[in-house]
Subunit: 411 residues, 2 copies
């Protein structure tokens, strides 16, 4: 595909105006929006207001007057729109891992006669760490991993399975799991599903209610552009709210927090999943990221996402076939999230060389370069330019330098 054709695609792109809402550094092609999204320009003004007016001037009064108290719910309903949930089924608070602890215990509390949880061996490792933590408090629990203890979730299901934890989009390969079918299969055996939406929300329409999902969690600092370490979200289907026990109890989850009662009487709705006082500065920054999404067509996002990743794969094949690259992501766009993983024996060093040229992706051990394609701010020409840089690096073996080979802590 010629550069001119790509430029025409950019001119015709129905999402083209969103790019100007983000701060994108000069000379950078940012293919890491799936790791830390860029800053919405509006966040600078918002945070100035939050710092100078809400905190510094209005002080404690802002809990009422600036709506701090409701932020967890208000942002929750903004996320709900993106994941096919009702307004009162999503709350924004804490971290993805802490929220996963909550919903796993909540799911187990609803299935007290059952003692198995299934997850994917290749899910995001922190999800496995959370499961180990849950098991440390529930020694009877058996954790079964798809890909280690059985070849598919479907064949591992039985009537002892309380819950199945599934990553909607694989954090490395980008493979999409079938939410509707898997949820139905699990529920046919009387189990509950817990979905991790960290790599799916914001890049295609997620339909939690239509699929009758029980619980979900996800991260807001990737495609949702909420800022570094922005608080996570938690979804619980309303049919489970009152029946489940969420053991990370705290005053923000009390039905009457300002009555200072001794006994914990959880809020009857989604707020029971909040524990302590939330980091307001980080929540307010996240609000800027979510505001951008409120009028976005996720269908258009999905179409552009498939086109961008298809283009990247096609250009890699055309331009970089001479080197030891292997595309790990599904070749069929309908099976793939908005990322493409490519292995190379020196993947770490190649990625460092790319970064030094302003093409920022990330690396996942042992040898995967991971490229994320956030349709709100990337152009077709960006993809063309990124592959051109990659080709030059491979051609010249520019990656083979001490500075690129030496690993730093965070990648």
């Amino acid at each position: 595909m010629k550069l001119q054709e790509l430029q025409q695609l950019d001119r015709d792109d129905p999402l083209r105006n969103y790019r100007s809402l983000f701060h994108l550094p000069e000379g950078v092609i940012y293919l890491d929006g799936n790791s830390l999204g860029p800053a919405p320009k509006e966040v600078f003004q918002k945070m100035e207001k939050v710092l100078h007016q809400e905190w510094a001037e209005d002080l404690i009064r802002s809990w009422n007057n600036a709506g701090w108290w409701e932020l967890t719910d208000r942002l929750g309903s903004m996320v709900a729109k993106l994941i096919g949930a009702d307004d009162d089924e999503v709350v924004v608070c804490d971290t993805t891992s802490v929220n996963l602890h909550k919903v796993l215990h909540a799911a187990l509390s609803l299935k007290s006669g059952r003692n198995k949880v299934i997850a994917e061996a290749d899910c995001f490792p922190s999800d496995l760490y959370v499961l180990e933590g849950v098991k440390s408090l529930r020694p009877d629990l058996e954790i079964l991993l798809e890909g280690r203890d059985g070849s598919s979730i479907h064949e591992m299901l039985d009537e002892q399975v309380a819950a199945v934890l599934i990553n909607h989009v694989d954090y490395r390969s980008g493979t999409i799991r079938d939410m509707e079918n898997l949820t139905r299969q699990v529920q046919e055996f009387g189990g509950l599903t817990v979905w991790d939406l960290s790599h799916s929300a914001g890049i295609f329409p997620v339909q939690l209610n239509r699929c009758r999902v029980d619980f979900a969690v996800g991260c807001t600092y990737k495609y949702l552009n909420g800022g570094p370490g922005a608080p996570a979200y938690l979804y619980a289907a309303s049919r489970h709210h009152t029946a489940c026990n969420q053991p990370l109890s705290g005053w923000f989850g009390h039905a009457r927090p300002f009555d200072f009662e001794r006994h914990f009487d959880p809020d009857s709705g989604i707020r029971r999943f909040v524990c302590g006082t939330q980091p307001i500065l980080s929540l307010r920054a996240l609000q800027s990221g979510l505001e951008i999404y409120q009028d976005v067509s996720l269908q258009q996002v999905r179409e552009k996402s498939m086109a961008l990743t298809d283009l990247f794969i096609k250009l890699l094949k055309n331009e970089c076939a001479a080197w030891e690259l292997e595309i790990i992501s599904p070749e069929d766009a309908s099976q793939r999230g908005s990322q493409v993983a490519v292995s190379h024996p020196q993947g770490y060093a190649v990625m460092q060389a790319l970064i030094s040229r302003g093409v920022i992706g990330d690396f996942r051990a042992p040898n995967l370069m991971r490229f994320g394609f956030a349709p709100l701010f990337l152009s077709y020409q960006d993809i063309h330019d990124a592959v051109k840089q990659l080709k030059q690096i491979l051609e010249s073996k520019e990656w083979n330098q001490e500075a690129f080979l030496q690993k730093s802590k965070v990648t």
Copy 2:
């Protein structure tokens, strides 16, 4: 005491220069630093750098280059200085309540043959909610409350007690508990202590190591001026690090988080108490609050705190004896934190009237007005002026207006 004498005290105050480091709104006397501390002026510049440079320009690279990855530990060691702990015994992350869940489970894991936990019936209610949550996962656990199931912790101790949770300073009355003696008593029975330092850290020297405290948690948005909902801290004595199980496991607590292993191998040190990715914007703002404290003499803070609260009580007695005020806090300054609680049958309305005149304190049900005295930014004259306003309100019954009587959500 005459106003002139107080003004002389202000001129002689060794802490007088700290006031200028904070943004204090015009016309406000802020007696609520124990609820939400004011903004350090430096935070405005810092956050501009964090937003424009670290996030917007440097993006994902800031995890390495701006030290985001180490913030939990770096801020932890800044808190450690204030609470008499070693650098590697404190970490800043999550919320006070979530951290309390962690350390209570950790304490129980170290005392697996024991099934009792003691707390104070009048401790901050969220601490009781946390205990209920812990018990929901440990049905064998017996929770005993001092003031309900026995008259003193000391008499309730036996060899079934795994842990005792104590609020260092009572959130309402300001009464200080004796850390050294209580810890020794608990340990004589082989139990562990968990201290909540939310109302003590930053207003007098806390000596965790000298008192051989096992675990502690605390809040940073009060006297430490970390910003609304700033992340909390967690202390674990180094002797417990490797032996305890902290069940809120997550990738930030892994020994090798970027190796993406399937099995959770916790960090050998304090970092095992971190779970998921932390809210960087809120952490960086907190850093400004902690930086101010790094060269403060906590002994001087304590002396001024006692003088300010003594002055407030004395002026109340001299000026406001005609009305139905009752001082709930200990009259002996050595028994009292940096707050004074005063009951009035219409405490809520009186506080609203005070706030409308710019004297900001807070209210705790059913009838307590709570005044906090943060020595870094309050002057002796502030106390004089605040009591003058209170007297006028009581004298004129100005509080008896619809606008003041009607309760809002957060107080």
